[in-house]
Structure formats: structure tokens, C-alpha cells
Amino acid sequence: MSNNKSKFAKNTLKTWFSQQILENRDSLYNVAYRLTRNSADAEDLVADTVIKAWDSILSLHEHERFRAWIFRILHNGFISQYRKSSKAPTLKPFEESDSGQETHEVAELLIEQPNDFLCWWANPEKNYFSDLLTEDIITAIEDLPKEFQLTVTLINIEGFSYDETAEILNVSPGTVRSRMNRGRTLLQKALWQHACDAGLINTTQISEYI
């Protein structure tokens, strides 16, 4: 009898696990692709992740935390396997921020962006953001140092909370917040530069501030 119960419980767990994988498959692949930068390695990483996740499923005590849990396995898998291999893509180095560096970067951004142009840029009637392709924003994100890119991806694209992102990346929530601040500040600077380069912002008037 107990064998039947045990078998039933296992089948139920398998069914549930399979459903979770199906629901998260696209997101897992997308994040894996962002990490590895090629499809074959991303596929391998996702497949390895699913195998490892099933092998350690009994360590997951709260099923509602499945998503953050499996993305942590994915991230750990990337770090341990792909960073050590010759196939690992070149990762942009970054320095974990101290608050001084972060404050300096933010202050620089605020100083570079004169108020008049900010108000123009944010005016919903202006067409800058209509002209700015989502692809341009994604490209700008991909240019960020890897840990900022990953943080922005997990929070802004995949919809994880700061706490979940901290769990996935095995860092403190304070570090997540710092990486978001720096990542998004750098992103805004990149988009600002893109706007200048594209001639969407009057560079003659900007030069008065330089």
C-alpha cells in the first residue's frame, strides 16, 4: 500500500514538475541565451538545469518558489561550467560597487542631462521613444557589464522581485539594488548618447553645458 502511495506521490510530483518546466521553458532559454550568447550552449545549459532540478527536487520545500529556485540552478550551472570553459563568451568586467562609485555615476548622469532636455525627452508627445526601437534598448542592455545585464533582465524582463533575484544570483538584496541602480543608470546614459548620435537631441544646445 505504501508503495502505491509513494508511486502516486512521485507521479504527481513528476506531473507538476513537467508543467513547471513547460511554463518556464521560454524564460529559461532566454536567460540561458543571454548568459551564453549562443543557441547550442543555451540549449545545453537549460537541459542540464532541468536534469539537476529534478535530481534535487526534494530540496525544494516551497513549491511557490520554484521559479527563483530553478533560475538559481541555471545561473550556478552557467558559472561553474561555462565560465571555466574555452567556449565561455568574453564577459565584460565589472567592479562590484561601493556606494561611492555608484553615487558618482548617478551624479554624472544628473549633471550631463540638463533639465530642459529631460523635460523634452520625457514629453509623451515627442516621438523619441516611438522612434527608439525595443531592439535598441535590448542592444544597450546587452552592452552592459554581465552582472548588471543579468540583474536588469531578471527584474525588468523576467519579472523577478529583488529578493528572488538576490536568491538566483546568490547575493544580498542590497547588491541587487546597487546593480539595478548602476545598470539602469548606465542604460539611460547609453540611450541618451544614442539619442544624441541619432540627431534627436539638439547637440548645439547641449554643447553649452559641456
Partner: protein, 88 residues
């Protein structure tokens, strides 16, 4: 040059740096501390440039949330189906 110096002074004298420190957490709904929330809401209602900046960031958030995901390759779908079938 003179205007940039003036802008720099304005930034250093203002609460904008502190507001920026909380902006992304605020926009993500992650700012739980009541005092910080009140500070943000007060600052954004009084500072045109930070309000503008927050509108820009909201637009970027919207774009990112609606980003079309890469389609999972058929080869990976098949591979995962096989893995799930073989699980014991």
C-alpha cells in the same frame, strides 16, 4: 561651461541624488519603507527633472516588459520532452 557648473551645483545641493538612489526600487514596487516612499512621492511631485527622468524609466520598463522572447528551439523542446519522459 558656466551652465554645466550651475547644473552640477544644483545637483549637489538637491535631493535628486537620494531620489535617484531609490528610483528603480520605487518604480518596481520594491520600496517598502514608508519614509522612503513618502520622500520619493514628495520629491517627484516637486522636481521636474526627476519626474521627467522617472517617466523615461517607466517607458523603458514598459518596453522591457513587453520584449518578445526568443522562441525555444524545437530541438530543445524535444530534448526536454525526452528528459521529462525518462525521469524516475
Amino acid at each position: 561651461m558656466k551652465d554645466k557648473e550651475a547644473n552640477k551645483q544644483l545637483v549637489e545641493d538637491s535631493d535628486c541624488l537620494e531620489a535617484m538612489d531609490h528610483l528603480y526600487a520605487y518604480l518596481s514596487g520594491e520600496l517598502k519603507d514608508k519614509d522612503s516612499l513618502a520622500m520619493m512621492e514628495h520629491h517627484l511631485s516637486h522636481c521636474k527633472s526627476c519626474f521627467s527622468r522617472s517617466e523615461i524609466e517607466k517607458e523603458i520598463n514598459t518596453r522591457l516588459q513587453s520584449t518578445k522572447q526568443l522562441e525555444t528551439p524545437e530541438s530543445l523542446k524535444t530534448r526536454l520532452d525526452d528528459i521529462l519522459k525518462e525521469m524516475d
